[in-house]
Amino acid sequence: MGRQCGRWKLLLSFPLLFLVVFLFSCDIGQSPPPILLGLAINLSGRGGAAGEDIRDGAILAVDRINAAGGINGRPLKLLVRDDRNTPEGVRAADTSLVDEGVRVIIGHSTSGNTLLSYPFVTAKGILLLTPYASTNKLNGKDDLFVRTQVNCDLYGKKAAILFERNAIKSVALLMDMSNADFVVDWKDSLEKYFQGRTRVVTFNSRQQTDWSKLIASLMRSRPDGVVLLTEASMSGVALQKLTAAGYDGSRFATIWADTPELLHYAGGDAEGLRIITFIDPDNNRADYRSFSRAMEKSFHKKATARSSRAYELIVVLADALKRSEGQSAEALKKSLLSSEYNTILGHLRFDKYGDVVRPIYEVVVHNNQFQSNGPI
C-alpha cells in the first residue's frame, strides 16, 4: 500500500508541477464587475471637434474616479458611442448602449438629439443625463432625465436682461435648424422675456449653406445685435461673414459655441463677442486647475467648457452612485437630487424635477481670450 502511494505521488507530481506553473502564468484574480456608463455624443458630425472635448473630459473623470477606488470598490467603465449628429446615429448609439447594459446614458451633445433619445432611453428604465441639452421641452418633468445644463427658459430670461442692460432694442437670430429644439426654444424663451424686436434667420448646417443670403438677411433689419444660435464652427464662419459685410453691432453667441474652436474658426472676428453661458472662464478653483493640468498632461489640450462640463457631470454622478440606495434609475435620480454639489465649475443643485439650478455668466472675447463679465 505504502509502496503504491509513493509511486502515485511521484507520477502525480509531474502534472501537478506543470499545473502549478500554468496556474501561476494565468491571471486568476477576479475584480468586481464595473458599473457601465454610456456616453452618446456627436464625434464625427458637424461640431464633432467639440465632442472630442466632451469625451476626453468624461474619460479623465472616470479614470480619476477609478484611481481613487471607484464606486464602493467597483470601477466605472465608460462606453463611448458616436451619434454622428444624425437621428439614425442617435438611435444606433442608444441601442448599442442599452444592449451593453449601461446603467446611465450621458448625452447627447444637442437638445435635438437628446429629445430623440429621451423616449427610447427612459422607456428602457435607464437614467438619461446631460450637461448639454437645454431645450424647454424637458423642463419640469418628473421623469428619468436629469441635467446639469441650464434650460433655455433661463437663458432667454438672462439674455433679455443682458440686452436691456446694453440698450439693445432689436436682435436678429441666426438659427441652425440642425438643432431646432434648442434654437427654437432659445428664441421662444428670449421672446418671452425680451421687449425689443426679434428677427429670425434659419439655415441647416447639415446642408449646403448660402452664406451671402444668410448674412444679407440678418442685416436687412439693421439689428442692434445678432445672436448666433449656432455651434462653434458655424458661429466662426458667421462672425467672419458679418465682419466682411461690415456689420458693427453687438454679437452674441450661446453656450453651444462656447469652445476654443470658435476662436479658430472666427479668425480675429470673435473680438467683442459676448457669450451667454454657465461656464465661468475666470474659474480659479483649485480642483478646476487640477483638472485643467490633468487635461493638458493626458490629452495635450487645454480644458474647455465642453470637457469640464462632462467631467463635472461624471463626478456628480459618481457621488450619487456611491449614495444610491438601489440599482434602479429612480433610486439613482433620488440620490442625485438629494444633495448639493461643489464642482469644478461651481455650486449646483437640482430642483425636484432634475433641472439644474446654477448661475449664468456673460462672457466676452477679448484679445482672443474668453473673459467673464460676471453673473447676469
Partner: protein, 518 residues
C-alpha cells in the same frame, strides 16, 4: 537513528528529487534560450513590418507631392491667379477624394475646392497657423469643410501663399487593410497615433473617425528595452509592442502590438514540446528501472528474506535459481548463507556433542522466558527431554514460578551485558542430589540472551564430607574425655590438636598451641 525505509521508497525519492531539479532547470535554461530566440524573431519581424507599413502610409500620404512640385515649378510670380484657377478647374484633389484651399499670406482663403466656394475670403489664419520655412507641415483635425477627420498637408507656395490639401483618414484604410491581411501573429494590431495620442490609423474605424485619444488608454507603459520591446495594458490585457516614430510627419508614432499571451503562449508551446521528450525519457527510464528493480531486486530479496524466515537451522535455505531472479549476486549470497548455515549446523553439532559427552547436567534456558532451549543427554537421562518446557517446572519439583534462588540477576550487569561465571551449590528437588553449578549468561545461536548452567553431581563428595565431619566430632569427644594429656602433630611436627588435659599442662589453649612446633 531514523527508521529504516524500503529501498524502493528511497529510490523513488531520489527520482523525485532528480525530477524536481532536472525539469525546472531544463525548463529555465531552455526557456531562457527560447525566450531570447522568440524575442529576436518577433523583434525582427515586427521591425520589418512596421517599416513596410510606415512606407505604405507615407507613400499614400504624400501622393500629392508630385503635383504640388509641378505647380511650384509652373507658378508665375506675376500671375498667381493663373495657377489657382488651374488648380480649381483641374479638380485634381477632388477626384482623389481630397479637398484643398489656398491661403494668402494673411491667412485669407484665396482659392478653395469648388463645393466650398462660399468660404472664399474667410480668415483661416487661426485654423492654419502661418508657416515658416519651405518644409511641408502635416496636421490632423476634423475638417470644417467636410466634417471628416483629415490629414491636412500644408505646402508653402511662392509669395507666402499656403496650399492646404485635406486628405480624409479613410484613405489609408484600404492600404493598411490589405497589409494587415497577411497577419503574422494572432491578435496583432497596427495603429498610428499622433503626438497627442490621437488615433490616426487603427483597425477600429470608429477610433479614427472620432479622433480618439488612444494614447490615454495605453496604461502601465514600460520603457523600451534593448530589443525595442515595451508593454502596455489596454482594456485590461497586456500587450507587447514595438513602436517607431515617423520621420515625417514628426511626432507620429506607429505601434505594432501583439497580446503578451501570444508571445508567452508561443514560448510555452515550444517549451512544452521541448520538455515532452525529456519527460517521456524520464518516465521510460522510471518504468524501466521500476520493472528491473522489482523483477531483479525486490522480488529476489523478498524470496530470500522469506526463505530465511522459514528456514530451519537444521535444514538450511530452500531457494531455486528462479526465485533469485537468476542473478549471480543473489545466488552467491544464498550460497554463502547456505555455507554459513552448514558451518553453524556443524558447529552446533560439535558443540552439542561436547556437551553431551560431559558427565554433568548442561542446560540452556531463555533468560526472559525461562524456556529450556537445550538439555544435554546427561540431563535428559535425569529429567527427560525437557526442551521447550519452563526450567522451574521441568528441573524443580512443584514450582509454578521462577525459583527464588534463580541466578539470572547475578549473570548480567545493569546494562544487561553478561558478566562472567557464577558458581554455587544446590540440591535438586527432583533428583535429591547435590550439584556444583557454574552459571553464565550467553547469546544463544538465535541471538537471544540465555543462561547456560553446567551442574556437576557432587552428592558423593558431600556424603564423604559429612562422614568425615562426624568422625572428627567423635574423636574430639573421645580425646576430651580421657585423663591424659594428648597433643597431636602433623607430619611436619607442628601442633594440630591439644586436649583439655594438655591445655592445662602446657598453659596454652588449643587455638594458641595450633601450628606451634612440637
Amino acid at each position: 537513528m531514523p527508521n529504516p525505509r524500503p529501498l524502493h521508497i528511497k529510490i523513488n525519492r531520489v527520482f523525485f528529487l532528480v525530477a524536481l531539479v532536472l525539469f525546472p532547470t531544463i525548463a529555465l535554461l531552455s526557456g531562457l534560450v527560447e525566450y531570447n530566440r522568440i524575442r529576436a524573431e518577433y523583434s525582427a519581424a515586427m521591425h520589418t513590418r512596421i517599416t513596410v507599413a510606415q512606407a505604405l502610409i507615407r507613400e499614400e500620404l504624400f501622393r500629392t507631392d508630385s503635383l504640388v512640385a509641378s505647380i511650384g515649378s509652373e507658378l508665375d510670380p506675376g500671375h498667381p491667379g493663373t495657377i489657382l484657377s488651374r488648380l480649381i478647374n483641374s479638380r485634381f484633389f477632388e477626384l482623389q477624394g481630397d479637398t484643398f484651399f489656398v491661403l494668402d499670406p494673411q491667412g485669407i482663403v484665396a482659392a478653395i475646392s469648388k463645393p466650398y466656394s462660399d468660404y472664399m475670403g474667410l480668415d483661416f489664419s487661426s485654423m492654419i497657423p502661418a508657416q515658416a520655412g519651405r518644409e511641408r507641415l502635416v496636421r490632423y483635425y476634423q475638417s470644417l469643410l467636410t466634417k471628416r477627420s483629415v490629414i491636412a498637408i500644408q505646402y508653402p507656395l511662392e509669395n507666402g501663399n499656403i496650399l492646404v490639401v485635406e486628405r480624409p483618414l479613410d484613405k489609408f484604410i484600404p492600404i493598411m487593410a490589405s497589409f494587415e491581411e497577411g497577419k503574422r501573429y494572432a491578435g496583432e494590431l497596427f495603429f498610428v497615433l499622433s503626438t497627442a495620442g490621437q488615433t490616426i490609423y487603427h483597425p477600429d474605424r470608429t477610433l479614427m473617425e472620432t479622433r480618439y485619444n488612444l494614447g490615454f488608454d495605453l496604461k502601465e507603459r514600460t520603457a523600451p528595452d534593448n530589443d525595442g520591446f515595451f508593454s502596455f495594458v489596454y482594456h485590461g490585457h497586456r500587450f507587447i509592442a514595438q513602436r517607431q516614430q515617423f520621420t515625417e510627419p514628426p511626432g507620429w508614432v506607429m505601434y505594432y502590438s501583439v497580446p503578451a499571451s501570444e508571445m508567452t503562449g508561443t514560448l510555452f508551446k515550444l517549451l512544452g514540446s521541448q520538455l515532452l521528450f525529456p519527460v517521456f525519457l524520464f518516465l521510460l527510464l522510471f518504468f524501466a528501472f521500476y520493472f528491473v528493480f522489482t523483477r531483479f531486486f525486490t522480488r529476489p530479496v523478498r524470496h530470500l528474506v522469506g526463505a530465511l524466515e522459514k528456514s530451519d537451522l537444521g535444514k538450511g535455505l530452500s531457494l531455486s535459481e528462479n526465485d533469485l531472479g537468476n542473478i549471480t549476486e543473489f545466488t552467491t549470497i544464498a550460497q554463502a548463507i547456505k555455507i554459513r548455515d552448514a558451518e553453524l549446523i556443524s558447529t552446533a553439532e560439535r558443540f552439542q556433542a561436547v556437551l553431551n559427552s560431559l558427565d554433568a547436567v548442561v542446560h540452556v534456558v531463555d533468560f526472559n522466558t525461562h524456556e529450556v532451549l537445550f538439555m544435554n543427554s546427561y540431563g535428559q537421562k535425569l529429567y527427560g527431554d525437557c526442551t521447550g518446557r519452563l526450567c522451574y517446572k521441568a528441573l524443580q519439583e512443584g514450582r509454578e514460578k521462577p525459583c527464588s534462588f534463580c541466578t539470572n540477576h547475578l549473570l548480567i550487569d545493569k546494562h544487561g551485558v553478561p558478566v562472567g561465571v557464577y558458581s554455587w551449590e544446590t540440591q535438586n528437588t527432583v533428583t535429591g542430589r547435590w550439584y556444583d553449578c557454574r552459571d553464565q549468561a550467553i547469546y544463544w545461536v538465535d541471538g537471544t540472551l540465555a543462561r547456560i548452567e553446567i551442574a556437576t553431581d557432587i552428592t558423593e563428595r558431600k556424603k564423604a564430607e559429612e562422614a568425615l565431619l562426624a568422625e572428627k566430632e567423635r574423636l574430639d569427644v573421645t580425646l576430651r574425655s580421657i585423663g591424659d594429656g594428648v597433643i597431636t602433630t602433623d607430619v611436619a611436627g607442628k601442633v594440630v590438636y591439644v586436649n583439655k588435659v594438655a591445655e592445662e599442662m602446657t598453659g596454652w589453649s588449643s587455638d594458641e598451641a595450633r601450628g606451634r612446633p612440637s
